[in-house]
């Protein structure tokens, strides 16, 4: 028991994922390492195509068959990389669950929501139909779906986007997983609903002592919902640390750019939004040096030579940049911006 509590729930070491795309093979993720303790929450931030969803899917073992995964993913010390699909099926929806971005398409239109929420219960917990139904109604009630006893037999098209996301949350939580991966769970929802859904997820994570990996491109969502965060760019982690610490002293020019680029309320009308110039590099032909070099305001010749190492810049705070002396002297962060 003592060992179990100190051992990280999930431990990812030097994860690499190579995908076959229409433009040839692409190293979507490289050298990603992190550990997550039981009950801990971790945020994964970055633009589309930075590798955050691919990282999540590799934890779920749901990458396309053609993907090549290297490195190690351990759940409670047990290796997941290279696990057979049958063995992985016993973990998915049971010990590791995932909530997806698009509640409108994430549910099967042909089955009632009750049937879909009950599926993991019947499968993993071997519940009888009536047991599963009772538990499903309780779960739907817990995620705040109104009138669950009646609505349990309704079909997805009879619900709004926010309600459907509540259903997928109920589905993911049905078997009380150890780890919940939420991939942009509120991106497709109305702003007014976003907060409710995030609060619901936070409450449930707290209540059930789950670990959570929250994926978002929204720094605000990350700041409010997770204890630790990682910023990804071009398939690698470029900054990681406790959320407060990272927001206090952002070290990587990319993180700083991301922070400056967020739209601000109360800005004068006509003010142009700040952007990071250039575009995300194609994963099919990544530069050999720092992946951000082409867009970085602080770039020097050395940056393009080799991928910079992770530099320790504070308690648990790491930045993959060789120019932190300059970037962090500017002290860009929530406190100063």
């Amino acid at each position: 028991m003592g060992e179990r509590s100190t051992m990280p729930l999930i431990e990812v070491a030097n994860l690499g994922v190579r995908l076959n795309t229409s433009r040839g093979p692409a190293q979507a993720v490289r050298g990603v390492s992190f550990a997550l303790k039981r009950g801990e929450t971790l945020g994964l931030v970055g633009e589309s195509g930075c590798g955050k969803s691919v990282t999540a899917l590799s934890l779920m073992g749901l990458l396309p068959d053609s993907a090549v995964v290297t490195g190690s993913i351990k759940l409670d010390g047990g290796e997941l990389a290279g696990l057979s699909d049958a063995d992985y099926c016993r973990l998915r929806g049971n010990r590791i669950s995932m909530i997806f971005q698009e509640p409108m398409t994430a549910l099967n239109p042909m089955h009632t929501i009750g049937h879909q929420v009950a599926e993991p219960l019947r499968r993993h917990k071997k519940y009888s139909a009536s047991q599963a139904r009772r538990e499903t109604i309780a779960l739907l009630d817990r995620v705040g779906l109104p009138d669950p006893a009646r609505r349990v037999d309704a079909y997805p098209h009879q619900f709004s986007g926010g309600q459907r996301q509540r259903v997928t949350i109920a589905m993911a939580l049905a078997c009380e997983p150890d780890l919940l991966i939420a991939d942009e769970p509120t991106t497709a929802l109305d702003v007014t609903i976003q907060g409710q859904i995030l609060d619901l997820i936070a409450d449930l994570v707290e209540e059930r002592g789950m670990s959570m990996i929250l994926i978002s491109h929204d720094l605000g969502v990350i700041a409010e919902n997770v204890q630790r965060m990682m910023v990804m760019y071009g398939g690698t982690i470029i900054e990681s640390g406790p959320t407060d610490e990272v927001f206090r002293r952002m070290g990587h020019p990319y993180t700083q750019g991301l922070f400056r680029a967020r739209p601000k309320l109360g800005a004068r009308k006509g003010t142009r939004l700040t952007t990071i110039s250039g575009t995300v590099p194609e994963l099919a032909d990544l530069p050999s040096g720092c992946t951000f070099a082409d867009r970085c305001p602080l770039v020097i010749e050395q940056c393009r030579a080799a991928l910079p190492p992770m530099v320790d810049v504070g308690p648990g705070h790491f930045v993959r940049c060789i120019r932190t002396d300059v970037s962090m002297a500017e002290r860009v962060g929530a406190l100063t911006a």
């Binding site: 994430a106 599926e119 997928t168």
Partner: protein
């Protein structure tokens, strides 16, 4: 639900009325006088005229049409010009063969097509997929009467397992009847199955790309389970649509195939009646085929609503 069915029923009726008008007009516009045909080229004009009156062919178009429809409604289809017997019993005799033939053929089509379509989709881009899809390509290109002759050569002439044609009726036992319909049913089914297999494959592949498939996998369902429990039902709508359309093709195919195998079915009756200018039989047979096609498509429409819960709401 009932509103949905009611509206489809109205469409069905309108289609049948339209079909009856077209069938009547087209057959009426055919050159040649039935009475003249029946009596031969040497018949005296008076005799021909007398027969024309007797058959009611001297009446105006609209009157004759309404008489026909009135007869249809009470089940009186008139008498065959050639045989003199009631058309209704003539058709009934033939349906005993053609309906089982069509059903067997549809069953073979669906069995072959669904298994091939699901197999190839599940093994997308693998050797089995490419192999089966090449076979369906060949299947689509096969004329069914030619394929029927090949089947006869193999199973009747070479192996002598099945008879090359004819139909002994159902009196000697169901199995004997089925055996004599097997080759015709297979020849009708092959082309259809090839098309339907390709439709099934692409429908399944499309559904496999949907987000809810990933959700189901994330719940811990295996690939096969996801395919059976989540994908197939979603893929059935396009498959059912094509099946409904294929039923019409199938009936048209029986006209050719029943002739290849000397089967006394509806198709052969139509063929012979056209040759004999027995237009009253032709007209009623074609109307019957049209009705069967329309009813099958109505059933398909209603089945949509059973398969897809979204349809009821959208159409109410």
């Amino acid at each position: 639900m009932s509103v949905f069915v009611l509206r489809r029923l109205l469409t069905l009726l309108a289609t049948l009325v339209g079909a009856s008008v077209i069938i009547f007009l087209v057959l009426d516009a055919l050159p040649g006088n039935a009475a003249q045909m029946l009596m031969g080229a040497d018949a005296s004009p008076d005799a021909v005229r007398a027969l024309t009156v007797k058959l009611g062919l001297d009446q105006p178009l609209a009157v004759r049409y309404l008489q026909w429809i009135k007869g249809l409604l009470v089940g009186d289809l008139g008498n065959s010009y050639v045989y003199g017997t009631p058309v209704a019993s003539l058709i009934a005799e033939r349906l005993v063969l053609t309906i089982p033939l069509a059903m067997m053929s549809m069953l073979i089509t669906v069995t072959l097509a669904l298994s091939a379509g699901i197999y190839t989709a599940a093994n997308h881009n693998k050797l089995g997929d490419v192999g089966v899809m090449s076979l369906t390509q060949v299947g689509i290109a096969l004329p069914n009467f030619w394929f029927a002759i090949l089947l006869v050569l193999l199973f009747s002439v070479r192996l002598q397992w099945l008879s090359a044609g004819g139909f002994p009726g159902w009196e000697d036992g169901i199995w004997i009847g089925i055996k004599s319909l097997l080759l015709p049913a297979v020849s009708l089914a092959v082309v259809q199955a090839a098309i339907l297999a390709r439709v099934t494959r692409s429908a399944v592949l499309e559904v496999l790309r949907e987000d809810f498939v990933r959700t189901a996998r994330a719940k811990g369902l295996g690939k096969r389970e996801v395919l059976w429990k989540h994908v197939l039902r979603n893929a059935m709508i396009p498959v059912m649509t094509v099946m409904g359309l294929q039923f019409a093709n199938l009936l048209a195919g029986t006209i050719v195939i029943e002739n290849v195998f000397y089967l006394p079915g509806l198709g052969r009756l139509i063929f012979q009646s056209i040759a004999n200018r027995d237009l009253i039989v032709v007209r009623n047979c074609v109307m019957l085929l049209a009705t069967m096609v329309v009813i099958v498509n109505f059933v398909v429409d209603v089945l949509y609503a059973f398969v897809d819960p979204r349809i009821k709401v959208h159409d109410l």
